[in-house]
């Protein structure tokens, strides 16, 4: 075991020096390789993150949601409406939600101002999502001044910054006391933006939703199921992975073809000849070449993947958003929560590193079984 480690470490040592010496060619390969990994990993990280956001968003959303309409426009629900809706058979709970959008000209961002039904912050205090905190540079104890549409200035103390699992769910959220909320939007008490329903029997959701709709004729009823289907069709996982696989296969093929076509340079062949002549066995030569393939492809993978990470999570995926335009409608501000799916990472890693590493062994094997005398003289 010790001998094995010594052997490997010296072979790696040699491989690194060989890579440095045959720099130009390897550098080109490295750049092309990391570029391909960058594109694939950017796509993967981006779609993964969006899919994850959507899943979390849906996990937090109620089974049935109702918005009241008046002349086809959104209208507020009253407490009587809620009481009447709560009597629909099959509804176990109805919760009136109070929220509104607010455009903050200072940060140039939209916030969702919400007065939670349970556990609201004290009056004059707010809890903010990390997106808001970032936009306005807020920490706990700082004050946030907002000028309401009516012109009144609200100075609110940040009691908590919650880092949400998902930025879609809560990054732009500002939670406040119901009285503050009413004053800010100049709304009476007892009005609600929409209503969230909990249904006893999941089998009955459709039925219950229909009955809810009948109870309040001018209303829009939204089912979580339907949202789920909409999202699913947007990021069909299988379609995505297929695309990625096709891309990887094409890329791996291109690299293999190039590598095969160029084979080993005269210098590299001479070097292998010398190494064998001075006592390297075939296994040592192949191990060295395998390290070379692994270092190039593994290094390129690491560089490409890190660059993709920065690109997607810190630079708002600027390079691929135009290509994947459909998604920008869904989520205009791309500050996604960094996350990576181990399976995707492994798949991408194996599919990029393995084929190349194995491919480097083919010309190396051919060289390793040729008489060293021939190779040193360059007559083979």
């Amino acid at each position: 075991m010790r001998a094995w480690i010594n052997r490997q470490s010296l072979l790696v040592d040699y491989t690194l020096s060989a890579l440095a010496r045959h720099g130009g060619r390897n550098l080109g390969l490295f750049v092309v390789y990391s570029g391909i990994v960058f594109v694939l990993a950017s796509t993967m990280l981006f779609t993964d993150a969006l899919r994850r956001e959507a899943r979390l968003l849906l996990a937090h959303s109620p089974e049935v949601l109702l918005q009241k309409l008046k002349a086809g426009r959104h209208a507020y629900l009253t407490r009587e409406d809620l009481e009447s809706l709560g009597q629909v058979r099959g509804v176990s709970r109805v919760e009136g939600r109070r929220w509104g959008y607010f455009y903050d000209p200072v940060a140039g961002a939209n916030y969702t101002l919400m007065a939670p039904g349970v556990d609201p912050p004290d009056r004059g205090r707010i809890d903010v999502g990390d997106g808001v905190a970032r936009a306005r540079g807020l920490a706990v104890g700082d004050t946030l001044s907002l000028r309401s549409a009516a012109g009144g200035l609200f100075v609110l103390v940040v009691g908590r910054v919650f880092s949400a699992e998902s930025s879609l769910v809560a990054a732009d959220l500002v939670l406040m006391h119901p009285t503050d909320w009413e004053a800010f939007f100049q709304l009476p008490g007892d009005v609600f933006t929409d209503a969230a329903f909990t249904v006893d029997n999941p089998q009955e959701v459709r039925n219950v939703a229909r009955k809810i709709g009948e109870r309040l004729p001018e209303a829009r009823v939204i089912l979580r199921e339907e949202l789920l289907r909409t999202y699913a069709s947007l990021f069909d996982w299988r379609e995505g992975i297929l695309l990625a696989l096709a891309g990887i296969a094409a890329a791996a093929f291109a690299i293999l073809a190039w590598n095969k076509a160029s084979g080993l340079s005269a210098d590299e062949r001479r070097e292998i000849g010398i190494l064998k002549a001075i006592g390297w066995d075939t296994r040592a030569v192949l191990t060295m070449k395998m390290w070379e393939g692994a270092l190039i492809s593994g290094g390129a993978f690491a560089v490409g993947f890190l660059a993709a990470w920065v690109h997607v999570f810190h630079l708002e995926a600027a390079l691929i958003v135009p290509v994947l335009e459909g998604w920008s409608v869904l989520y205009p501000r791309f500050v996604l929560t960094p996350a990576v799916d181990a399976v995707s990472l492994l798949t991408l890693g194996l599919l990029t590193v393995l084929p190349y590493t194995l491919a480097t062994l083919v010309p190396a094997w051919r060289a390793a079984v040729t008489d060293p005398d021939q190779m040193m003289r360059g007559t083979e």
């Binding site: 010296l10 072979l11 006592g279 066995d281 075939t282 040592a284 008489d371 005398d373």
Partner: protein, 226 residues
């Protein structure tokens, strides 16, 4: 049958079957005993380097048979030949064949990389050998900066790093002055006294006639002279 290396009817043809076919070795029979210093002597182009390559399992003969320590190696595939070579031989090539871009020390250490010894162990031995050959000041220099004689000594140190049973040296003194040549012959005598076998080629009459040399084999046009 006590010979360490035996050649029977060995012929080596380059570019066989082509218009430029060239017979470099022709029906060579040769037996080399262990623990001796043998010198191959002959004019340029007589096949000395080719014979050393075949002896040292760097090339396979076109026909004929080569035995090393009783084992027939002439029909082994290269993968097995490599093992025989690693276990048995240390080479000093006529063109040195050092690896450019690396230091003298690294070049000397290279043959020992796959052996499983530690870096420091190998480095210590390399420094020792380079010291014996008067190169202690140049261990860190890149080999392409060295003079011909210095490169040759690096090549000699490299051949000795794995303590081979057989040292094969092709014109090892061609670039050495007489003092260093004498020193080199001293090193060879030391190796022989440890029971190792030395086979080399040389033009140099001082080498062929040196007291340490046990046997001189003359080559002419690919044939061994009686």
């Amino acid at each position: 049958m006590s010979a360490l290396i035996e050649l029977a009817g060995v012929t080596k043809v380059f570019h066989e079957g082509q218009h430029n076919a060239l017979v470099a070795l022709c029906d060579v029979d040769l037996a080399l005993e262990a623990g001796r210093i043998t010198v191959l002597q002959g004019p340029s182009g007589s096949g000395k380097s080719t014979l050393l390559s075949v002896l040292g399992c760097l090339a396979r003969p076109t026909s004929g048979r080569v035995r090393v320590a009783g084992e027939v190696v002439s029909n082994l595939p290269e993968a097995f030949l490599a093992d025989v070579r690693r276990r048995t031989f240390g080479f000093v090539f006529q063109q040195f064949h050092l690896i450019g871009g690396l230091s003298a020390r690294t070049n000397v250490m290279l043959p020992a990389y796959p052996t499983g010894r530690t870096h420091s162990e190998i480095a210590r031995r390399a420094a020792e050998l380079l010291g014996q050959l008067g190169l202690e000041k140049l261990t860190d220099a890149r080999v392409e900066w060295l003079s011909g004689g210095e490169q040759q000594r690096v090549a000699i140190a490299r051949a000795l790093i794995n303590d081979p049973r057989v040292v094969i040296a092709d014109e090892p003194t061609a670039n050495l002055d007489s003092a260093l040549s004498a020193e080199f012959l001293g090193i060879l005598a030391g190796l022989r006294d440890e029971g190792r076998t030395v086979i080399m080629s040389s033009h140099d009459p001082r080498v062929c006639e040196a007291a340490v040399v046990d046997r001189v084999v003359r080559l002419l046009d690919g044939k061994v002279e009686a």
